[in-house]
């Protein structure tokens, strides 16, 4: 029996680049639930759903949800405290 296991954030690199206009997976994010800081590339991604759900690798809280609307891509911020670029 297969479990729906998560993928890594880097699987969304193309989608995130399309939305934000820059490479996002090497950027850091702070979870709004547990305060863990990780690169977005290390987030747990549930791809096979009506949208892409990005969860904190530490506590599994939903960080962001990406839905491809007919009108455009919507990125919903659920529980992400901040994002930070790498210098």
């Amino acid at each position: 029996m297969t479990d729906v296991r998560h993928l890594d954030g880097n699987v969304l690199a193309g989608v995130l680049h399309e939305f934000f206009g820059r490479e996002m997976t090497d950027q850091l994010g702070c979870c709004g639930h547990c305060d863990a800081v990780n690169a977005l590339g290390a987030a747990h991604v549930y791809l096979e759903a009506p949208g892409h759900v990005v969860r904190c690798p530490n506590c599994a809280s939903v960080l962001i949800v990406i839905v491809q609307h007919p009108d455009g891509m919507r990125v919903s911020y659920e529980s992400i405290r901040w994002l930070q670029t790498r210098s």
Partner: protein, 201 residues
Amino acid sequence: MSFVTRGFRGRRRLEGPPGRVPPGQYVTTEFPVLSAGPTPRVQLEEWSFTVTDAGGDTLEWTWSEFTSLPTETVTVDIHCVTKWSKLDTTWEGVSLDTLFARVGSPGSHALFHSYGGYTTNLPVEDITGGKAWVAFRYEGEPLTSEHGGPARLLVPHLYFWKSAKWVRGVVVSDSDRPGFWESYGYHNYGDPWREQRYAGD
């Protein structure tokens, strides 16, 4: 700009018998597993289903109590918003009419909650009158966890994201609150025959 790729045909998409498949859907013989998060592992000894009515009163069933309720076996078509439809799926479960029989204040709106945190909202009139079940057997076998076991909601006349997996209870009230996918831009109601996939459709 997209261009046609010479020789590419894509997965063979069956159209299905006329009138059975809503617009924009294709028929699959597989049963794809879609999930927004980790599969919850719920021990049957810990499992319960709770109905909270509009007055705040609760009814609760343990697994053995729940599975002792009268059940129905139904064969229905299911339609996922990601465009696949699966015809003639057979489920066994407890009708929401049975669960709501002793509910004092039925309210107009229901919000279902699942183990793992998933939620989905529906009008009470769309889950009563023989339209919805809490199902725990699929094709004659106990429902597997990847497909929502121990028990999931089954509301076949709406897009399948409304058929919440790993369901643990329902809260009824007079106000409508959007569930998980509804709050991220999916349609609040989700009728596949009117192709109500996204908010605004």
